[in-house]
Assembly symmetry: C2
Homo-oligomer: 185 residues x 2
DNA sequence: ACTGTTTTTGAGCGATCACTCAAGTTATCA
DNA sequence: TGATAACTTGAGTGATCGCTCAAAAACAGT
């Protein structure tokens, strides 16, 4: 997963994969079927891990919106230069951009994952609205897409050679934007 | 340029390039030196074209902020499904994500282009502040980075299989966010 | 210890990769 | 028209791509 995340689908050769897994080609193909199959499992594992992280950030805050803002800040911390992450950008987005016009199966998988995330965010925001955190008129599905686009932008932006402090500021500005959707008390 | 934009650096083979250029390998290498060199020129051409588009949108509006908002909407229109663009996502971002851990020279070029765009946006926002469009306390460089991240997010988001109307809504929400930074009269 | 099954190994497959260069063609002079 | 220069051609280079499979090794049951 780390190798694919770092180098992308085409950028990771079977030789490198053999080394990363400490497996010989025969075993790899007996286990995963193909490079596509292996990548697919890696991407699924990545998505699962990401989902877990989001749920952890939410569990740490009683307020959903606070949890989402914390999530933004945490992404900024992880995506800052000098971190040990294989890549600062999101593996799903990297995959979507790489595979969209070259590998339909993989592009579909990335699409599905992003759909699931969008849905999860929508559900969360609906719940926040019910709890009175969000302004009553909020269009939750639309805000979920905005939030997803922000996260995609934040993490892709962080792939630039840039100071980590500026990534943190960016996350802060995005978190501040969420405040505008809060219910007025 | 269109081929590289659509399929990425690794995804475009020399055979496909030969066909796209209607040139044989010898001529290609005599003209561009290497696949890297050719890609570099394609990326530079893309960046120039993008810069021109931004300037056109700005020229169409007397207000800088209005021009930027128009630019966001226009990006959404271009990045909508069904368009004739080779790819909905930005070629510079695609390149940054693909090349960051595999091709230092190309990644540097993408970085430079994004630096230049960030600087151009900063200059524009500074000018808008001077003209009283932006709130006096606005941190223009920081807002420029936010704007750039939004655009990156918008165009990458648009690479998903999604209805064009939702892309337009997303651009609208991002434009609305810019309004919060306007000077109060 | 012996047999049958499962798993691992790594040399090597055909295909394709980016790229080269001698030979051929075209353009530009007098 | 003929000599020179500039450019184009495409078969072919070695390297690497994803992948296969017969043989070897490890494991499991009696």
């Amino acid at each position: 997963m780390n190798l694919f995340w770092e180098r992308g689908y085409a950028g990771a050769s079977m030789k490198q994969i053999e080394q990363a897994l400490d497996m010989r080609p025969g075993s790899i193909y007996a286990t995963f079927g193909s490079k596509d199959g292996l990548f697919s499992e890696a991407l699924a594992a990545y998505a699962q891990r990401s989902g877990l992280e989001l749920r952890e950030h939410l569990a740490g805050n009683s307020s959903i919106l606070d949890g989402l803002q914390e999530h933004l800040r945490c992404i900024a911390r992880q995506a800052s230069p000098g971190g040990e992450s294989p890549s600062r950008a999101c593996m799903v987005v990297k995959t979507l951009l790489e595979a969209s016009n070259t590998n339909a199966a993989i592009a579909n998988q990335a699409n599905s994952i992003l759909n699931a995330i969008e849905q999860a965010l929508t559900d969360l925001l609906e719940q926040a609205k019910l709890q009175g955190e969000l302004a009553p008129g909020t269009h939750c599905a639309r805000l979920a897409r905005l939030l997803q686009a922000q996260i995609i932008g934040l993490r892709s932006f962080a792939q630039r050679e840039i100071r980590s402090e500026q990534v943190a500021e960016l996350a802060e500005d995005m978190a501040a934007m969420l405040d505008h959707y809060r219910a007025r008390h």
